[in-house]
């Protein structure tokens, strides 16, 4: 039997990169079919295959790390780099939307009335639900830190409790934001104000949902004893992502909700 003499992980051949690429093709062309030809079958197929790919690919990573022991310290270092670089790419993604917002709001055109918010736009009161949302996410940052420390100290029950609270706060944020969306007096088609508002907050909301999902997966993994007090990178990655989502909201709140009103 051969043994590797290096600390790296030589993965088994896997079909998921291929199915992932195909699902991306199906989703993008599905979007085009929906926009222009009123057909949703391709988009639905794309989203389904995307979900299947993500589930199986990440399931395999859990198997490789937790069950097969491939995640040596060196491999973990690589995973850390990967997650950090991914979050940096997401920061650049949001930077684009913030750029668009500041471009339009710092020098409002005569067509908008030369002012920001533009004439006719009634912005949301930043001291109402948006402020509550800020408190909710900040609190969730505290509870996730509590969860991490519990995990490192081997306190299983506390970790589960605090992680559950974190997830519930994330869901609460999403529900509050959804109700705000229904209440806004303006829509996405209401000029550049509407566009920048809903693109920035909309993508943020999507990231909250993604983060909450990631945390929920961590919750079930903790229930099933996957994490140890010294090796729990999946949880750390979820926590980093969650803090990132929180920070983006703070920028959104200060820029769009507060300064932009």
């Amino acid at each position: 039997m051969t043994h590797q003499t290096h600390p790296y992980h030589m993965v088994n051949p896997s079909p998921w990169p291929l199915t992932g690429a195909f699902s991306a093709l199906l989703m993008t062309s599905g979007l085009a079919m929906w926009f222009h030809f009123n057909s949703t079958i391709l988009l639905s197929l794309g989203m389904l295959t995307n979900l299947l790919t993500m589930y199986q690919w990440w399931r395999d990573i859990v198997r490789e790390g937790t069950f097969q022991g491939h995640h040596t310290f060196t491999v973990q270092k690589g995973l850390r780099y990967g997650m950090i670089l991914f979050i940096i790419s997401e920061i650049f993604f949001f930077a684009g939307f913030f750029w668009a917002f500041y471009h339009s709001s710092l020098a409002p055109t005569p067509e908008l009335g030369g002012c920001w918010p533009p004439t006719g736009i009634i912005p949301l009161n930043p001291l109402e639900v948006p402020l509550l949302n800020t408190a909710v996410l900040l609190a969730s940052g505290v509870t996730i830190t509590w969860a991490h420390h519990s995990l490192m100290e081997g306190d299983r029950m506390s970790m589960l409790q605090s992680l559950l609270i974190t997830i519930m706060l994330g869901i609460y944020f999403t529900l509050l934001q959804a109700s705000e969306y229904l209440e806004t007096p303006f829509t996405i088609s209401d000029g550049v104000y509407g566009s920048t508002f809903f693109m920035a907050t909309g993508f943020h909301g999507l990231h909250v949902i993604i983060g909450s999902t990631f945390l929920t997966i961590c919750f079930f993994r903790q229930l099933n004893f996957h994490f140890t007090s010294s090796h729990h990178f999946g949880f750390e990655a979820a926590a980093w992502y969650w803090h990132f989502v929180d920070v983006v909201w703070l920028f959104l709140y200060v820029s769009i909700y507060w300064w932009g009103s």
Binding site: V11, L26, L45, L48, T49, Q56, Q68, F225
Partner: protein
């Protein structure tokens, strides 16, 4: 009396932790044994029959979807060309 109370608390805690242990036993060692078997099966199929079914389903949907998209896309492209070839008469 305080010692009795403390004792009661300890028993209650122990009962609760036993109950939770019944619901969630640590099955990781079993999984580790299953996935470390030297049978040459790649990790995406190593879990059993369910893995193979899910894999086949995913492949059928993606490749089938691609074929469908190419068919649909080609069909639409030809349709658009046909429409463009016969301009509507202006009244």
């Amino acid at each position: 009396m305080l010692r009795n109370l403390l004792g009661l608390r300890q028993i209650a805690q122990r009962t609760i932790s036993t109950a939770s242990r019944r619901h969630f036993e640590n099955k990781v060692p079993e999984k580790q044994k299953l996935f470390q078997e030297d049978d040459g099966i790649p990790v995406h199929l190593k879990g059993g029959v369910a893995d193979a079914i899910l894999y086949r389903l995913t492949m059928v949907l993606t490749v089938g979807g691609k074929a469908f998209r190419m068919f649909e896309g080609t069909a639409y492209a030809i349709y658009q060309l046909a429409v463009a070839s016969f301009p509507k008469k202006q009244d």
